[in-house]
Symmetry: C2
């Protein structure tokens, strides 16, 4: 990691809210180093040797070269045509092909396992493989199908990777926190239970940022995950649809159970975390949500989950949609590739008859401030306990996170409630704006830049707003990629006056020559609990834009 | 108010958590006395003289006589047969009769207005009348019906009384708090807006306990409300179904909008308050919920409200129900009339084939402790600000409330979250208990006693548990009434060892000769968001028990 010394100075000057004492303890940490080593060795040894390929060079060189591993995968034909056919098939169709007998669950599983191992070799995306168990489960499913003449559920035979903090019984669950390497949950998270019951096959758990805090991905346990389109860049976190080239849904809270997540102390209700699916097709996101909710009925296992069925909504007619575009949220200016992405998508949507309204949020900065204050309103006490238990060194961005809001100052209950009340007023304001103006959705950036460099991503305002509002939001790929020749700051840009140190860090960190080929994503958001409408409209928009993440890679 | 001096001593010995300084200020309060006086005068003058009756004696004598005003109403025929016919008709049928042209909205309104004035004369239940406005609205509705040949909505012409803290534009909203006599909301609460749109007619606002805290009803502003069946007793609060002889639903949170309530600072999410309907028939509760949710769509006006439609569920077959009976919650022993009510209802339900399971909650005391700690976890700061703004004298039970939990100790955010996490575990425990044992509902007391005496009601554990769990709960009348000859402590009871000072206060305060004729209510509760099932089963049970609150009064 090399960061412009001037920007690094600015970065450290912004860390004023938590003096970071009481976290790190090198002496204490020594005890944990062997546990980290053992964890990494287990990860390495769990990767079947026969599935590995020779990389085209040392990983550090590939990083420096901004290596595009997606292109490499296809150019070098690292999978057989049959394996490509399977792994570049929408989940919806995979289940159909298993149902029709065209493919077996085992056959599907083997192709995905191979591709996952390749992905891991190139991007360091996995923290745990259990391919043997996955294979055994796939065999079970094939047997079930033969014996019963039907599928076990709507996700029968579908290999699904899980974020690491979704507890699995008997397996270490750490959320990137070293001291949790001793944590072995005694039961599966509700969401794992449901997916498994629906027929999904688990075999790999994916990396997450330290305690799921920063917007990049990685921790002291297994290091960082890289963007498959440019290995110099980060895959992003805690989920990574905007940076890694897939679509992803942030559902409204309480539609997907969050019961049984690792490291989740519980009881935080101000800005509620959610789980949601990532996929290369939007129809798979719909399949996931519909199956999970309507067949999985999470409320029977978790009273926190809402018994709101997943509704079948008609695909909207683009010429009847009214969309409010937020080009700048008042917190951080977007970089040239994101600006281009917005401009091109808006132009196309207008050509399809979409009514576009410009939206300049009058309380964007307030929303960001409230959200980060609420996120840290326990004065980082829970994090301090978790980190200091091992004394692990704090990654750069963990320090950043600990300094958001009022950092180490623990709020009283009254202070917390006052911020909650402001949050509720913001929800009302954004909701009323949509309803009173007959606007269907917000369209905007998912982040002010494309995939960031490792440990150089500071601003989460563009996604945090929807966590604060608890509005459903779908990050979708535009099919566009950063182009160092086109996506440069123009003369006007150079005169810009930064509104905050964070904005300066973010904007000045964008050197066009270092983000080559990074995917350009945007997000579509709607009213609370209108997840179905957001998914349906996203599918229509993505299809209209001609984005096909499966087809593109096959060509 | 005369309280056994020994019990009074015990009461004051239990007030150890908040020393009550910083609330009262007689000097400051002087300024507010004229405002209270003006409020009362406005109330008095808003009662049309021609609707008033002569009471059979001074109110203090009626209280001492444990006067039954319900009996008096019918014995003395204080309403005409036509007025009785209208006001003893289910809301569902009133709307039908208006639709068919049998009655006009004005005719219905006049009968209810007269009955409301009588009720107020006898029980002091109203804090504000606006009969002229109600009449004008009823006329408007009649005109609408004539012009359009149809009703304006599913509650067309139905007179509904509102609890005082439901904001009405341009009218003082105080929640029993003197300093809020200056508060004049600039818009209606969402729930008032919806009910009005559905066709309801407002004309009276009803009394509430001081800041909606205690379980009795009244404040320094307009005094206490009495139980219509025994004027010595309290009507109860903040709602009063268990004490005043009607049925009432506590819905799951976020089904009825709580946006725009007076005195609600907002941001408290640990034990969420809810609004729900009170009625003399359960089918009217169903009408209210169904119309409010499915036609009113509160989520369009308030993003806090959940878009969960009110489901039509089949009326359950009693012989297929399995009900867990909680006779004692581990916090407070019930008095003899409640015990009798439980025994008789259980006996009848068993005869109908209901499978009855005894349920002894293993964490009842923990649940109570967590709930009261969460209720006061801001160290009473919000209440201190509200009360001290006028320096008003603290009613006896306000002092009690301020001393619940840890009283004046303000929690940190971490402490709040830890309690929330315990609450979530309790929700899981109760929910799992129902699901894993195939149990449909909990049946139990709604309070450990019948209607209490003014300022002598300390324990809210039997309702608080469902606020904590956020389970829907329906308080229903058993059709039984306290009988001083039957409902006495027995020899076994006399040997009982109290588990807490609060229990001693509650139990020793029950002198059978002072609760004559108080209605005996119970409650049926179900899983979170299974409000529909709770209402449907309650209707079947109440019908099976032969309880008819309209018929009984006509006989």
């Amino acid at each position: 990691m090399t960061i412009d010394p001037q920007l690094d100075k600015l970065f450290y000057s912004l860390l004023t809210k938590d003096n970071l004492s009481g976290y790190e303890d090198p002496e204490k940490f020594k005890k944990w180093v062997p546990k980290i080593k053992a964890y990494r060795e287990k990860l390495d040894s769990s990767v079947p040797q026969e599935l590995k390929v020779d990389l085209p060079g040392p990983i550090e060189k590939l990083k420096a070269d901004q290596f595009n591993s997606m292109k490499y995968l296809y150019d070098e034909k690292l999978l057989s045509p049959h394996e490509f056919e399977i792994t570049d098939c929408a989940g919806t169709s995979i289940v159909e092909n298993i149902a029709s007998g065209k493919w077996t669950s085992v056959e599907v599983f083997k192709a995905f396992a191979k591709r996952a191992v390749l992905a891991h070799q190139l991007t360091n995306c996995a923290v745990e493989f259990f391919i043997d168990e996955g294979l055994a489960r796939a065999k079970e499913l094939d047997d079930y199908q033969i014996q019963n003449g039907k599928l076990i559920g709507p996700l029968h035979g579908l290999p699904i990777s899980l974020k690491e903090h979704i507890s699995l019984k008997g397996r270490i669950g750490h959320s990137g926190i070293v001291s949790l390497l001793d944590n072995i949950p005694d039961k599966d998270a509700v969401t794992a239970t449901i997916l498994s019951k629906l027929g999904a096959v688990f075999y790999v758990r994916t990396n997450e940022p330290h305690a799921l805090l920063p917007l990049d991905s990685g921790s002291n346990i297994t290091g960082f995950t890289k963007c498959p389109f440019n290995l110099l860049l980060s895959s992003g976190g805690s989920s990574s649809a905007a940076f890694s080239g897939c679509h992803g849904l942030r559902p409204s809270s309480r539609r997907i159970s969050a019961r049984g997540l690792v490291g989740e102390g519980g009881g935080q209700e101000s800005v509620v975390g959610v789980l949601g699916p990532l996929s290369r097709t939007i129809k798979d996101i719909d399949l996931f949500m519909k199956s999970y909710i309507n067949d999985g009925k999470p409320w029977l296992l978790d009273p926190w989950s809402l018994p709101i069925p997943w509704r079948d909504v008609p695909k909207p007619d683009l010429s009847k949609l009214k969309i409010a575009v937020m080009r700048d949220d008042g917190v951080c200016r977007v970089t040239p590739p994101i600006r281009r992405g917005l401009n091109e998508v808006i132009k196309k949507l207008k050509s399809a008859g979409v009514e576009i309204v410009e939206f300049v949020p009058k309380n964007g900065r307030l929303a960001y401030d409230v959200a980060v204050k609420l996120s840290n309103c326990d004065g980082n006490r829970a994090l301090r306990e978790a980190f200091s238990a091992s004394g692990e060194p704090l990654p750069r961005l963990t320090k950043w996170y600990l300094n958001l809001g009022d950092g180490a100052r623990e709020y009283t209950v009254s202070e917390n409630r006052k911020l909650n009340a402001i949050r509720d007023n913001l929800r009302q304001e954004y909701s009323d704006f949509l309803i009173e103006n007959g606007i269907d959705f917000f369209l905007g950036p998912a982040y002010n830049n494309v995939a960031p460099k490792e440990e150089e991503v500071y601003n989460e305002s563009y996604t945090l707003i929807y966590n604060l509002l608890d509005f459903p939001s779908l990050v979708f790929q535009t099919g566009l990629f950063q182009d160092p020749k086109v996506d440069v700051w123009n003369e006007e840009d150079m005169k810009y006056e930064y509104r905050s140190g964070m904005e300066e860090l973010e904007n000045r960190g964008y050197d066009p020559s270092q983000f080559i080929g990074a995917p350009i994503a945007l997000q579509l958001s709607g009213r609370r609990y209108c997840d179905e409408e957001v998914v349906a409209a996203s599918e229509v928009i993505v299809n209209f834009l001609g984005v096909d993440l499966l087809k593109r890679q096959k060509d």
